[in-house]
């Protein structure tokens, strides 16, 4: 009764879906460190924006934490060596997205201590916002929630906008993933330090950490460290997918709506992921670079699921073998099962935005469940779409390849591909796949 009462008053957004959370496998397992693989592959384009420019050459020895590539302009980030070793070369390597891109390949020194030698003390409390943004770029930080958008660009607010609230995204609404949950429990102090740094940069008066109500232990852990006068507070939101979308989180916590095609700063908000800020809280005071991240390895195909601190650039094969992957033909997903990318090769490296590796059961092709039936106009997709689009109508236009009409009249570009429409469709229509095709064709035509 109390639970029902509470759920009526828990904040959330309209629509959305309730997929099984499937987090039981890993949400109680503490973060463990993964050993270093023999070869580390650091792609030069792990982020949104211009690829980094390599600073090292073949045969050069690098120390863990050393910058190995520099940012190419403001919309780019540097890369740091995840291991102490020797550079084997700068070569084309496969990526999870598909096309091969250039990457720095490092052979790990088996006997090195792997201590981070680079870095110096930094007095962030007496630095101004401009310097801090520069320091954030130097860490190579990108949004660790999955988008890979450079963090310093996100915090650089245009001068004619005032930020009043910093929203920290700890929802982790994707099934299976538990990295943010564990970070909030185990790296609470770093997280709060990162939030204070971000508050200083944005000039915001308060910060709200949005956490779904299935992670009340994390809520308690953070609240324990905050007193009443603290500008940081915790906002509990309903467990619902896709609550972790930044625009929907703003709506849930503050009741503000980011305009179509707009960005959060237009309503006075900057949103950052908990993983991003927890890492920043560790890196900024030491002036170090991003060289590792927490990854959830889970799913029915691994024997030792868990939350691992993985050196960036670790090949998928190594990480999976460490987690007890059976080696059967399976479905590999990088990220969450709803929005993640399928990986077609075990040779792809783990990059900055990868928050999870899921080994799911292969589905039987051509089974009854896979068959696509005609739309029966049940409007389940309309009730699921969190941004109030009409997926059914969009799907019919996509079948006729009216991609430009979809964008100009039916707000295709507001779709952030959460997949709720495909999830609820009783006719198995691959709606979100249609929309991805439409967007990809439109992008190609406009370029």
């Amino acid at each position: 009764m109390m639970g029902l009462f509470q759920s009526l008053f828990t904040k959330t957004f309209a629509h959305g879906i309730h997929p099984p959370t499937s987090k039981g496998q890993t949400h109680q397992l503490p973060i463990r460190r993964m050993p270093f693989s023999d070869l580390i592959t650091v792609p030069l384009s792990q982020h949104f924006g211009a690829p980094s420019k390599p600073l090292v050459h073949k045969g050069q020895e690098v120390v863990r934490g050393e910058p190995i590539a520099e940012a190419d302009g403001f919309m780019s980030v540097p890369m740091h060596a995840p291991v102490t070793g020797v550079v084997v070369g700068v070569e084309l390597t496969p990526t999870a997205k598909g096309p091969k891109t250039e990457a720095i390949i490092i052979k790990t020194h088996p006997s090195a201590s792997q201590k981070v030698m680079y870095g110096s003390e930094y007095d962030w409390q007496n630095a101004n916002a401009e310097d801090l943004i520069h320091e954030i770029q130097n860490t190579g930080m990108v949004g660790l929630g999955g988008a890979g958008f450079p963090s310093h660009v996100k915090m650089q607010v245009p001068e004619d906008h005032q930020i009043d609230t910093l929203v920290i995204n700890g929802c982790e609404c994707e099934p299976y993933l538990t990295t943010d949950h564990r970070l909030m429990l185990e790296m609470t102090d770093s997280l709060l330090l990162g939030i204070r740094i971000a508050l200083k940069i944005c000039g915001a008066k308060k910060a709200i950490i949005g956490i779904e109500d299935n992670k009340m232990d994390a809520v308690a852990a953070i609240r324990e460290r905050l007193d009443k006068s603290d500008p940081i507070s915790v906002g509990v939101v309903k467990t619902k997918y896709p609550q972790g979308s930044e625009k929907l989180l703003i709506t849930a916590l503050l009741g503000r709506e980011v305009p179509s095609g707009g960005l959060p700063f237009q309503v006075g908000v900057v949103v950052n992921n908990v993983a991003t800020l927890a890492q920043l809280g560790e890196l900024i005071p030491e002036r170090q670079g991003l060289i590792e991240r927490v990854v959830t390895i889970a799913g029915p195909g691994v024997a030792k699921p868990g939350n691992y601190m993985v050196p960036l650039g670790t090949p998928l094969r190594f990480a999976l073998e460490h987690a007890g992957y059976f080696g059967d033909a399976s479905r590999l997903v990088l990220g969450g099962p709803m929005m993640g990318n399928t990986a077609a090769s075990l040779d792809v490296p783990i990059t900055k935005p990868v928050s999870g590796i899921l080994v799911l059961e292969p589905t039987e092709s051509n089974s009854e469940q896979q068959k696509i039936y005609p739309c029966i106009h049940c409007s389940h997709c309309l009730e699921a779409c969190p941004v109030n689009l009409n997926p059914s109508q969009l799907g019919r236009l996509a079948a006729k390849r009216e991609y430009e009409v979809m964008a100009s009249q039916y707000h295709l570009n507001d779709c952030f591909e959460c997949g709720s429409c495909s999830y609820v469709c009783p006719s198995n229509i691959p709606l979100v796949q249609y929309f991805r095709i439409a967007k990809s064709v439109n992008r190609e035509r406009s370029s």
Partner: protein, 291 residues
């Protein structure tokens, strides 16, 4: 009032109304008349009405209008037969404009019997959808995915997938409309004049061993074709042989003879793509296993 009278009134009213509207229409027809060259209709009749857009205009009627004002030549219509284009030229008293026939060429030879597939793709059976899922699962990320978006897009029935999932262009039917060029997510098609006989059927930028691990007919950048061809005709750029078609007159079959994989071919008018004698023979006739 007799029924005859009421009929008369109704008839004269309707007749009068009709007459009035007729006068208005006749006046409007005079007043708003737009002169249109009668030749446009006649030229339009002689065009193929496929509205494919290959000539660069939105359709056949705008092309006919441009023909009349002389900004295009009849030869620019690649769908029409050459006799018909000559007829249009005679009718208008202009030069046909000798445009060389172009055809769509595929820069890949990696059918399922020579190119490895690393992961099996399940989902919508279109190349575009497959390419969005981790590149589609083929070992070579530049390779043709073989799901036939080009075959579907072709309005002229000129592209058909062979049994290895590789699109084969019917040179006679191809009108160079460019639909396949636009639809291919891997950008493997391009429109080439038929006189370009020397053709590199590969786009892989991988280096030798890695390229050959993914595909038997890849260009492995060995450079033999470049060495055998006249100076500057073929260069190796980013691990791929590139033909400089400004020097097309110099091209001959000599360049292909020593290619070890058969990635560079001679597009023979009669026999289609011909590999050199040095190319390894592929006798496999079934798709490669996944791996």
């Amino acid at each position: 009032m007799s029924s005859f009278e009421s009929m008369l009134i109704a008839a004269s009213f309707m007749g009068g109304l009709g007459l009035l509207l007729a006068i208005v229409l006749a006046y409007a027809n005079r007043r708003l008349f737009v002169f249109e060259d009668p030749r446009i209709d006649e030229v339009d009749e002689m065009l193929p009405h496929s509205n494919c857009g290959a000539c660069g205009t939105p359709g056949c009627r705008p092309f006919a209008e441009k023909l009349i004002d002389g900004s295009v030549t009849p030869g620019q219509c690649t769908v029409n037969s050459s006799e018909m284009n000559i007829a249009i030229a005679d009718f208008l008293g202009v030069d046909v404009g000798n445009i060389e026939k172009q055809v769509a060429r595929l820069a890949c030879a990696g059918g399922s019997h020579v190119a490895y597939t690393r992961a099996s793709y399940e989902g919508l059976k279109t190349c575009r959808a497959a390419a969005l899922v981790s590149g589609g699962g083929k070992g070579c990320t530049w390779a043709c995915l073989g799901l036939g978006d080009c075959e579907v897009s072709c309005d002229f029935d000129a592209i058909h997938l062979n049994k290895f999932g590789l699109p084969i262009v019917d040179v006679d039917k191809c009108t160079a409309c460019g639909d396949c060029v636009e639809v291919c997510p891997k950008s493997l098609f391009s429109l080439e004049p038929v006189s370009r006989r020397l053709w590199v059927a590969c786009k892989s930028l991988d280096n030798a061993d890695e390229a050959e691990a993914d595909c038997d007919v890849t260009c492995n950048a060995c450079g033999r074709c470049a060495a055998d061809a006249p100076e500057g005709l073929i260069t190796i750029k980013n691990n791929l042989a590139v033909v400089d078609y400004d020097k097309n007159d110099l091209s001959s079959r000599v360049a292909i003879e020593r290619c070890p994989t058969g990635a560079i071919v001679w597009l023979d008018e009669v026999n289609g793509p011909v590999k050199g004698v040095g190319a390894k023979k592929v006798i496999r006739r079934e798709p490669l296993p996944r791996g």
